[in-house]
């Protein structure tokens, strides 16, 4: 599927494989291969054909350097992607060095979409075929160069551990000695990739290449950038979105030792100081009066009401199979439900920050971002400079989860830096970070299903309303009232429904920005659909696993993970009073995942998740250790959302401020998480987000099993579960 996307010529002309892989001599000798890696789900090929954004350089010293556009934010990309090249190129993993691509309009940016970003669990998925092909092509060119030098048949040579070997004579040449000659050879049109049983690296656990600096304090995040002479600033932005600064009394702030300057913007005030301690103290001493603006009275309830109203209108049809309305009239039983999920903040451990040195005619930026080209473009606009005058240094990311796909932090830092002589690091307090996020949208869902006399679903109607992040972030991808993100997890369900209709009503809530949040569309849709399927099973008085299973005859991959999860979780075995098991099943990000959660509901209504069993078919497993780590990680992210996650507005302001009011799961509440993998030779699926969307309905369904109470609104409200 990925490959089809890469090869599909958007211009209409046939684009051959060769257009997507080109070679040239590297500066300073050696071989350079350039290729195109897809950066979004919306296709990769540029309108003009080949637009390389990744480069493999084999130097005369034998060092192999991969320059690529994806960033490491904890998901293990910097380890799993070099494995793909090393596998086909026949080198050890530690021979491949990774460099992050700088922003460059011509080289790294998809010319049609203008995005250079890491998100939607697509880094490894997108790289799977092109990087292995590039490795295989480079190997073939190196072998051909050696054969030519020795005047022997190519077929009598083979590659092993960074060398080409001539079998019969035993002659050997290192890649570094061959690279410059190899660069003069044509790139092979077709290369044969290894078959799974030939893999030496893929499928074996590889140690993460970025681990050492993360245990001794030497890893450098955007927050740690320290250009010479840097000042530290912190800021207060209008508490109500869209509000303005009315007046500032900065006399007391200026008197704070170490405070150098107060910068007043239209909608924010920043305190520039020698260190963050002084900047924060200065901020607290500021007396700011705000003009709340148009949304100064806004509350979450206003938004929920607007969304509820919107679900009474018809929406854009996202999927339509059969005739759900007609089938509904024949239903023996009708099940109706309304679901809601809240706004959520990202709360990455590294608060938002950006360091900027504005020099008038150019601008230098230090940041950790998932979308470096977006940062460059938006910072350039804010600075009134052409993009090439904005230099962006990317850093490790102290948690992305979608937050660092946005460039608002860089724009704000540029606005401040334009008033400051010398470099300034703008650091958001945790409170600013939580109160000025781009939030996971609030969603409102209305569902109706019809069951026949055996309890089988014969009709499914689902209409939901909420914000389209894509429409703002990537406008060309929003078309006919739909985008591929908002609907993922609501359409193309794993189950077979004869009559099925899904509609989406786009509503942009006023006064609160929305953004991508780990597991994006499925973070909402999988909770809704998997909870509702559970409701249907209950209405049919059938076991939740057996009910799902009966709808999966056509879908062996989904059925396999469901069976495996149920078996390993001990599905059906008795549990103590107050405990319950719940199941969920999804196909999202190219991977199949079933989860069984085992929860306990206390008399006070509080929920504890004891154990989560995951059964995953993510296609070919590249680094099994990363698969396990990402499932643990994604699951805990989802447990946090189910138990604690809620951002609310009152008088236009986000009410939550720090980790006391916006709580995170901690180690003492962490469940046992078991990961079981189904062997597969399908292309790799995404990993980083799967657990987050699947675990929420598994928990809600487990609470139903334990208490008989159906949770249709997140997060879990203990008051609703409290026993009298």
């Amino acid at each position: 599927m990925i490959r089809d996307r890469i090869a599909s010529p958007i211009s209409g002309a046939h684009v051959s494989r060769r257009n997507f892989l080109a070679s040239c001599a590297a500066v300073g000798g050696g071989l350079m291969l350039s290729l195109n890696l897809p950066l979004g789900r919306i296709g990769a090929a540029g309108a003009d054909g080949f637009a390389p954004n990744a480069f493999i350089r084999i130097g005369s010293d034998g060092q192999i350097v991969l320059t690529m556009p994806y960033v490491e934010m904890g998901q293990g990309t910097y380890t799993s992607i070099p494995m793909l090249i090393a596998e086909e190129l026949e080198v050890k993993l530690d021979q491949v060095r990774l460099e992050h691509a700088p922003p460059n309009e011509k080289l790294y940016v998809n010319p049609m979409l203008g995005v250079q970003a890491t998100g939607n669990s697509n880094a490894l998925r997108g790289s799977w075929t092109p990087l292995r092909e590039a490795g295989a092509a480079a190997k073939a060119m190196l072998i051909a160069a050696a054969a030519e030098r020795w005047s022997v048949d190519v077929k009598s040579c083979r590659a092993q551990d960074g060398e080409v070997i001539h079998e019969t004579s035993g002659r050997r040449l290192k890649y570094g000695e061959l690279a410059t000659e190899a660069a003069r050879r044509p790139v092979p049109k077709n290369v044969e990739l290894k078959r799974p049983h030939e893999f030496k690296l893929i499928g074996t656990p590889a140690k993460r290449l970025d681990a050492a600096g993360k245990v001794n304090g030497t890893a450098v995040y955007g927050m740690d950038a320290r250009p010479s002479g840097v000042k530290i600033a912190t800021l207060a932005q209008s508490p109500a979105f869209g509000g303005k600064v009315k007046s500032v009394d900065d006399r007391a702030a200026k008197a704070v030792k170490g405070v150098r300057q107060i910068v007043r913007l239209d909608d924010a005030v920043a305190v520039v100081a020698d260190h963050m301690g002084a900047a924060k103290k200065g901020l607290e001493a500021l007396k700011i009066e705000w003009d709340g603006g148009d949304y100064a009275k806004l509350s979450t309830q206003d938004i929920a009401r607007e969304l509820e109203q919107a679900t009474l209108r018809t929406g854009a049809v996202a999927q339509n199979i059969g005739d759900a309305d007609k089938a509904m009239t024949n239903a023996e039983t009708k099940v109706e439900a309304i679901y809601q999920v809240p706004f959520l903040a990202h709360a990455a451990m590294e608060p938002m920050n950006c360091t900027v040195h504005f020099r008038g005619s150019e601008c230098e930026i230090w940041i950790g971002t998932q979308a470096i080209a977006r940062v460059q473009a938006m910072a350039a606009k804010a600075a009134g400079l052409p993009p090439e005058k904005v230099i962006v240094h990317n850093h490790l990311i102290g948690g992305g989860f979608g937050r660092r796909l946005e460039a608002d932090g860089a724009v704000r830092a540029v606005e401040i830096a334009m008033h400051v002589d010398g470099p300034v690091k703008v650091v958001w307090t945790r409170e600013e970070d939580i109160q000025h996020d781009y939030y996971r949208p609030y969603w409102f869902d209305r569902l109706t299903a019809g069951l026949d006399k055996d309890g089988k679903p014969i009709a499914w109607n689902h209409r939901f309303a909420g914000s389209s992040v894509i429409a703002r972030w990537l406008p060309p991808a929003f078309a006919n009232g739909l985008d591929p993100d908002s609907t993922e997890g609501a359409i193309d369900l794993v189950y077979k429904f004869p009559n099925f209709r899904v509609e989406y009503v786009r509503v942009e809530p006023p006064g609160i920005p929305t953004g991508f949040w780990r597991s994006v569309g499925p973070s909402h849709n999988v909770f809704v659909t998997e909870s509702f399927v559970d409701e249907l099973a209950a209405a049919a008085r059938q076991d939740a696993v057996a009910y799902r299973r009966a709808l999966l005859e056509h879908n062996p991959r989904a059925r396999a993970v469901l069976d495996l999860a149920a078996e390993r979780a001990g599905w059906g075995q008795p549990l103590p009073k107050g405990r319950g098991r719940g199941v969920s099943l999804q196909n999202a990000f190219g991977s199949y995942l079933a989860q069984v959660a085992d929860v306990e509901v206390a008399r006070a209504g509080t929920v504890r998740v004891h154990r989560v069993v995951c059964a995953m078919d993510c296609g070919t497993v590249v680094n099994p250790d990363t698969v396990e780590a990402q499932l643990q990680s994604g699951t805990i992210f989802g447990v946090t959302a189910a138990l604690h996650g809620e951002i609310t507005l009152k008088n236009g302001r986000v009410e939550q401020t720090n980790f006391d009011t916006y709580q995170m799961l901690r180690i003492n509440d962490t469940p046992v998480i078991e990961v079981h993998l189904v062997k597969s030779s399908e292309p790799p699926g995404g990993m980083g987000e799967t657990g987050t969307s699947a675990i929420v309905p598994a928990i809600a369904n487990a609470v139903f099993a334990a208490t008989g109470k159906r949770l249709r609104k997140m997060p879990i409200d203990p008051k609703m579960l409290k026993q009298a």
């Binding site: 970025d210 990455a348 451990m349 643990q632 990680s633 003492n668």
Partner: protein, 158 residues
């Protein structure tokens, strides 16, 4: 006013207000960026350092309260036997993901193990529940602490 503080065996003189949190002296004044800022209210543990071997949150520890105490940060904790064991266990168990919180996690875990060589699950919960990891590496943090405890010599202890 000036303060002389002992960090990782060296004395540093800094000229800041007495109520300045140690975190910012470390990061911004002295350029030791291994210690991280996460919340500023001792809610997340990212800023954890040792004062005389005890784990404390440097974001709420004012510089005038430090006195002659010996401060150890992530940059030097590997020089202690327990710190080195914890760091090795972190690598062996592949704990880190984004890694931002791990300085604080390692400082908390080292302080735990230095005072309690064979911690139980409950001990680990008590010592580590002040450290948030948004990537959710808790399962492996627990495993790594147990692994480091085994390196203390009594393999198989609970």
């Amino acid at each position: 006013m000036g303060f002389n503080i002992s960090i990782n065996g060296r004395t540093h003189s800094v000229d800041v207000d007495g109520d300045t949190p140690l975190l910012w002296v470390l990061r911004d004044v002295l350029g030791m960026t291994g210690t991280k800022f996460g919340c500023g209210m001792a809610l997340c543990g990212a800023c954890t350092v040792h004062i005389n071997g005890t784990a404390i949150r440097s974001c709420i520890t004012t510089i005038d309260s430090v006195g002659a105490s010996k401060i150890t940060t992530i940059e030097a904790v590997g020089a202690t036997p327990t710190g080195a064991k914890i760091q090795q266990a972190w690598l062996d168990q592949e704990v880190a993901q984004c890694g931002y919180c791990q300085s604080g996690q390692i400082m908390s875990a080292t302080a735990l193990l230095a005072s309690n060589p064979y911690p139980t699950d409950a001990d680990i919960d008590d010592a580590m529940s002040g450290n948030i990891c948004r990537c959710g590496t808790y399962v492996r943090i627990r495993e790594a602490i147990k692994r480091a405890a085994q390196l203390n010599g009594k393999a198989g202890q609970p």
